[in-house]
């Protein structure tokens, strides 16, 4: 059965022997994250810290086992833990195809309303937000769902953006243009000089957490997809100080608004690349107007940066277990033949591997274009395409496909040179290239890339240079696609004009 709350999910972990309760008082200042880091590295249990000043913390609760990163995420959906990744993927895809409308519950029926702070009572520092890495710019909430509405429609986006706590009433939020909520803020609210109402729901039920890391197309009701994953409606309840609806089962809800044309320092922070990243940048200011919670709330956090190499954390496991199936469904819905998409293990978000039956180069280019202009715009640097019978989660199989089938002359493609936005947390751009611009992304735009490691590209050498008129149509189409992507095709051997077809 799908867990109805974070607490119920932790109970399920405990039943499997995967939860470790720590009764001794633990400090939010590096100690909780250090213990979690060591457990992540040791592929151990999930730690629940029962005594952290005024509340409780749980470290990387959705971290899967190193061998099967989706297994605990499956538990949160009531799926068997021993499903193969194919079975798991297809189960999640099936559920996402069947969204279920949320249900509104009353204030009294909402567990997240047991304690309420508004007005002068609001104090963010009442809660033990963790200081996660030495050298971070501040304490962070970094495993939550950020809820923000489109001012011009009924659409409400659920997403995730880390937030650095400043004082009792304010925090800064990492908003990078190119993602859905930041686009709402920078290009609608801030341009109109209006505050964006926001709720940050912390410690939500698994189906809601999984949905908030998925890419749900703009305009679609995120709560319905969470309901689909859960196979029953998600309960929502109105906020106290704004008009947003929030998951009623959340451990804690921070209500407020992100103000236009105000910036505060955000970072440094050790983020998913695995490195301490700075310097601090100027990010939008979140002003808190209300905090509601359960009794004795549990605040989840992620030791970001440990999801690299062989180690898993909540982020890396959710990329495999949540983003992977969602992206697969998204591409199939857009008409692309995709067997499976998965992040290349050890690189949460940066590199994705896609297995596909259809390996025609222009088809792969169309697919890359779709991904780089939607969910892959900011975080994904390059893709590797492999045959349908190659397991994207199998490191060795992917490297073997690269070594055997990727011709450096023909199969390595740059995309959108000097035009694609870049997440500024990368480690290969200089501080000058990153800058500190108004909309958060790096000042210098870069390229993306994809590698065709499918075997069908291994044409007979004699065929490569044949001048077959049946290819003219394909070459003309290829030229048009490349030109749209900004490639200068004048010197390439393509059909010149429509008349040549």
């Amino acid at each position: 059965m799908t867990a109805d709350s974070l607490r119920e999910y932790l109970g399920a972990l405990e039943s499997c022997g995967d939860l470790h309760r720590i009764d001794e008082p633990v400090s939010w200042n590096l100690e909780a994250s250090a213990v979690t880091l060591l457990l992540n590295e040791a592929d151990g249990d999930v730690p629940l810290f029962e005594d952290v000043d005024t509340a409780r913390l749980v470290g990387d609760p959705y971290r899967g086992s190193q061998r099967r990163p989706w297994d605990r995420i499956a538990l949160g959906l009531g799926l068997p833990r021993d499903l193969s990744y194919e079975e798991y993927y297809e189960s999640v895809i099936d559920r996402l195809k069947d969204p279920i409308e949320p249900r509104i519950v009353s204030h009294d029926d909402a567990p997240c309303k047991r304690r309420i702070q508004t007005g002068e009572d609001v104090d963010l520092l009442d809660y033990p937000w963790p200081y996660i890495h030495a050298g971070d710019g501040g304490r962070y909430s970094n495993l939550h769902t950020l809820i923000a509405p489109d001012p011009d429609s009924e659409w409400v986006d659920w997403s995730y953006h880390r937030s650095m706590i400043h004082d009792s009433e304010t925090s800064s939020v990492l908003l990078l243009a190119g993602e859905q909520t930041p686009n709402l803020y920078y290009y609608k609210y801030e341009r109109r000089d209006e505050p964006m109402p926001v709720a940050i729901a912390v410690g939500v039920e698994p189906a809601v957490q999984y949905t908030s890391v998925m890419w749900i197309p703009t305009g679609r009701n995120e709560a319905e997809y969470a309901g689909g994953l859960k196979r029953e409606p998600v309960d929502l309840v109105p906020c106290e100080t704004n008009e947003l609806m929030v998951p009623a089962s959340a451990e804690l809800v921070i209500e407020g608004e992100i103000l236009p044309n105000e910036r505060r320092d955000e970072g440094p922070f050790g983020d998913y690349f695995g490195y301490m990243h700075g310097p601090r940048r100027s990010m939008p200011l979140f002003r808190v107007t209300g905090i509601t919670s359960r009794e004795d709330p549990i605040i989840p956090f992620c030791v970001e940066g440990t999801g690299v190499g062989e180690t898993e954390n909540a982020t890396s496991s959710m990329e495999v277990g949540c983003v992977g199936p969602d992206a697969t469904l998204g591409l199939r819905t857009a008409g692309f033949d995709v067997q499976c998409i998965a992040p290349w293990k050890s690189t949460p978000r940066t590199v994705y591997v896609i297995s596909t039956e259809t390996t025609d180069p222009s088809y792969l280019h169309d697919m890359a274009n779709f991904i780089f202009t939607t969910w892959g715009m900011l975080h994904v640097d390059f893709f590797v395409f492999v045959d349908a019978d190659v397991d994207p989660l199998d490191q060795r199989a992917v490297i073997e496909a690269l070594a055997l089938h990727a011709d450096p002359d023909a199969d390595f493609h740059q995309f959108g040179v000097e035009t694609m936005p870049k997440v500024p947390l990368n480690i290969y751009q200089t501080p000058t290239e990153k800058g500190d611009i108004q909309t958060g992304t790096s000042k210098a735009k870069t390229a993306k890339a994809y590698i065709d490691a499918t075997s069908a590209g291994d044409a007979d050498p004699d065929d490569r240079f044949r001048d077959d008129s049946a290819d003219i149509d394909r070459r003309y189409r290829a030229r048009r696609i490349l030109e749209r992507a900004g490639v200068e095709t004048g010197d390439l051997p393509f059909a010149e004009t429509e008349a040549d077809r």
Binding site: N29, L125, G137, I165, D265, M276, G278, P279, R280
Partner: protein, 165 residues
């Protein structure tokens, strides 16, 4: 080991030593982030009551330098006195809301704008312009006022609903 306060090199002006400056700092223990007015110096002997300030530098802020500071003010001096504001709101509730001021210059300019059609009346002009100025010059005060007003209206409505039950 970090000092009591931590700040970034980016938060210090050029040649800050000896000057009274406003800077953003973090409290090393609580990690709270706030603005203070202080004198900073690398040499504690140059300060009256020095406390340790760690200045972090470099593209990843992982290089630390030990400085010192004398705290002059821990807020920006414009912190809103909520109790006073609330009391003022109650007083004004019982008073006339007419504001009187005598100025030939202001009257002339406002009347000109009104006759040009930018405002419906001198009264509307003065109201609009004063509120715009207050929002720009005293944003925290205006924000606190709105919060208190909303809270007061919410409490009033809640107690009316309870009486109606």
């Amino acid at each position: 080991m970090a000092g009591k306060y931590v700040t970034s090199e980016n938060n210090l002006p050029d040649d800050p030593e000896g000057e009274e400056i406003r800077l953003q700092v973090s409290d090393e223990e609580t990690k709270e982030i706030f603005d203070i007015k202080a004198r900073v110096d690398r040499d504690p002997e140059n300060l009256a009551d020095p406390e340790r300030l760690t200045v972090v530098k470099g593209p990843h802020e992982n290089i630390e330098e030990e400085w010192y500071l004398d705290v002059i003010e821990t807020d920006d001096g414009k912190q809103v006195d909520s109790a006073l504001l609330e009391a003022t709101m109650e007083d004004v509730n019982d008073q006339s809301t007419v504001i009187n001021t005598r100025s030939e210059e202001v009257k002339t300019l406002l009347q000109y704008l009104t006759e040009r059609g930018e405002f419906e009346s001198v009264s509307e002009a003065s109201r609009t312009i004063m509120l715009e100025y207050l929002s720009d010059a005293y944003p925290d005060l205006v924000s606190e006022y709105i919060d208190l007003k909303v809270e007061s209206e919410r409490s009033e409505l809640a107690s009316e609903l309870r009486e109606g039950e």
